[in-house]
Symmetry: C2
Subunit: 197 residues, 2 copies
């Protein structure tokens, strides 16, 4: 004698998580309230605790979901060196800079994640490692640990550059930082390749 289709609640939960991904990136973790997060999903605040244990729980879940999506996107785009260079150019594009809500979660929230509950940090670490390990096979096929560190360091460059470009109020300066970031990222990738041969 069950009620509502079995998947109904799961669908709603996914809708909340998806909307929260955008809202958290836009307003920050502290800046996004539970009532707003639920309104974004077309619900009221009261239903929240039927889906999540706490706001921290949703934050950790939403961050992990965002990174999983980013990982899938990366797997599809980056199959070789050309794809990797393409990714760097898109990541450090003015379009990505101007689309905080739809963009990279790390760039929008990394320093807030570093201040978050340890459970959130652990899920973030796991998720970011999944991304790094995919790139590691491209960067250093014979050295998984080294490739992992190289991939993470490349991410760090991309994240820091995008964040800085977003904080600068001078538009042409912001553009110049993005351009220099692309040049630096590609230089590091080339260096890697040369060193291997």
């Amino acid at each position: 004698v069950a009620r509502y289709g079995k998947k109904h609640k799961d669908v709603t939960r996914q809708r909340i998580i998806e909307a929260a991904g955008r809202r958290l990136k836009r307003d920050g973790i502290d800046g996004a309230g539970v009532a707003t997060l639920m309104a974004d999903a077309g619900l009221t605040n009261g239903a929240f605790y039927a889906h999540f244990e706490s706001k921290d729980d949703l934050v950790a879940t939403a961050v992990a979901a965002q990174l999983r999506e980013q990982c899938d996107h990366l797997r599809a785009q980056v199959a070789n060196r050309a794809g990797l260079e393409q990714m760097v150019r898109e990541y450090l594009s003015p379009e990505h800079r101007d689309d905080v809500a739809g963009g990279c979660t790390s760039a929008a929230l990394l320093d807030e994640i570093a201040r978050s509950a340890e459970a959130t940090q652990r899920r973030y670490t796991d998720s970011v490692l999944a991304i790094a390990d995919h790139l590691a096979t491209l960067l250093a096929p014979q050295d998984p640990d080294g490739g992992r560190a190289q991939a993470l360091a490349l991410f760090a460059l991309l994240i820091g550059t995008l964040q800085l470009s977003r904080a600068l109020t001078d538009a042409s300066l912001s553009d110049a930082v993005l351009a220099q970031g692309i040049e630096n990222a590609l230089a590091l990738l080339r260096r890697r390749r040369t060193a291997r041969r």
Copy 2:
């Protein structure tokens, strides 16, 4: 018929700004309340508005003060290439990673600054440019604009790497990211030097 020494209030104001620098970096901008900020300076919340127009005003002032201090420190340390390399190694050290309150303001707050009031962002931009311009003369003496972008892109790498190392829960992985970040930063500096000659 004035009262209290002329400098008394200025001294107190500087004490609030100094303490706020540490507290904001530790707890985040949204995470640090006015009452806490004042308690850190040995005062109560009521006195706050005799010193600042608003919390935003203090935040913008404290961020600018922190960066001015960082700029002074940089001017003293980085007079040549050796000083620059030394700075990179110290910036990406485990000690800096573990000292958020005493460390780099950009690494602690950059994505929150990017979401802050425009006045805060403008003061941040001005302050960070003062730092970049000092490095620019070292990186590319004959090309101020290019040197500025290079300096900012180097900062971005340092900031992103420190932030990522702080968010990862795996200690040895965090260390590896710092080490790889140093290697990448130094490689870019060497490349720069070689290209010029």
